[in-house]
């Protein structure tokens, strides 16, 4: 039986690295992205080049109807399968100090980063419950642990993910489903590159290890959490930040 893994926001950056790593672990990848079809195709190609398999699953994680439509379609085509691994990775930043932040900036980040967790997870864990096995990994952030100026929306969404992770882990533990959060620090990802290009301060000099993390390093951690070696790890927030926190 194939082991399916859905990774949201997997066309680029950390999500792509996670998709590739889980494919190497033997998972059949459901590669979600919103609109960057070329990047998603490239990610799929990289997965296949690594000997894995992936199917593209485009939908906007901030739209509950779009999530349900895409997953309904997949479940209808796979009546005997379920999704054993869910990585809630899709996320955006829209930085501004609070006094300058528009309500739309607040709501959009909360919708994409937090509400997507609720809608995607609720739909996917049904199969895990029935099969008494599953892995949910939520990508939080050091911003949700420590807070950063200009990121009240992002930090709030990533902090809320931590609380939700801990609660859901307790709910699902009797069914042998683990739920964990990974909190990356500064990772040299597309999001980071684009931020620096927009003028956001490069904070590498504040990192005790004097370098940014790599998306692959986050992916190794997620891979471990999704393996059977991590059966007893649930409800945890694991930082990966070069000793910043």
């Amino acid at each position: 039986m194939k082991r399916y893994a859905l990774i949201t926001g997997a066309s680029r950056g950390i999500g792509r690295a996670i998709a590739i790593e889980l494919a190497k672990d033997g998972c059949s990848i459901l590669l979600n992205y919103k609109s960057n079809h070329a990047a998603a195709e490239e990610a799929k190609h990289l997965i296949e080049e690594a000997g894995g398999e992936a199917e593209l699953m485009p939908f906007d994680v901030s739209q509950p109807d779009a999530i349900n439509a895409a997953l309904d379609k997949w479940f209808a085509a796979h009546p005997d399968d379920y999704i054993d691994v869910l990585v809630n990775n899709a996320g955006i930043v829209d930085d501004e100090i609070m006094l300058m932040m528009e309500p739309e900036q607040w709501h959009r980040v909360i919708d994409v980063n937090l509400n997507s967790f609720f809608y995607c997870t609720r739909r996917v864990i049904e199969g895990m419950v029935m099969n008494h096995h599953g892995r949910v990994v939520n990508i939080s952030s050091i911003s949700g642990q420590a807070g950063f100026p200009g990121q009240i929306n992002y930090a709030a969404s990533k902090s809320a993910i931590i609380g939700a992770t801990k609660s859901l882990a307790k709910e699902l533990a009797p069914k042998r489903i683990t739920v964990n959060a990974v909190a990356p620090g500064v990772i040299y990802s597309d999001m980071q590159r684009e931020g620096i290009a927009r003028g956001i301060k490069d904070r590498t000099d504040e990192i005790p290890m004097h370098r940014m993390g790599k998306p692959e390093e986050v992916a190794y951690l997620v891979s471990f959490l999704c393996s059977n070696r991590a059966d007893y790890i649930s409800g945890q927030v694991i930082g990966i930040n070069g000793a910043v926190l």
């Binding site: 049904e126 419950v129 069914k175």
Partner: protein
């Protein structure tokens, strides 16, 4: 599906999937008090009913049932 078939499928589900002790699976046994059925077990039961008997119980319907006999009757009535 006959009453007996419904009972057999429900009983097998309860012992094999919900991992309740076979000795406590009796029609008069109370789902919460005697079997220790949780909210998550109730959700799993609803999914089991949908897949096995072809109808979707309304959200929360299972939690209103008291005994295993109530569950048999619920399936027979709605299936």
């Amino acid at each position: 599906m006959t009453k007996q078939e419904i009972q057999e499928k429900v009983n097998t589900f309860m012992t094999d999937r919900l991992e309740f002790e076979p000795s406590v699976i009796k029609p008069e046994a109370e789902l919460k008090r005697d079997l220790g059925m949780t909210s998550l077990d109730a959700v799993e039961t609803a999914i089991f009913i949908k897949r096995t008997f072809g109808f979707q119980p309304e959200r929360g319907a299972i939690k209103t049932l008291v005994t295993i006999q109530d569950l048999y009757d619920f399936i027979e009535k709605n299936g």
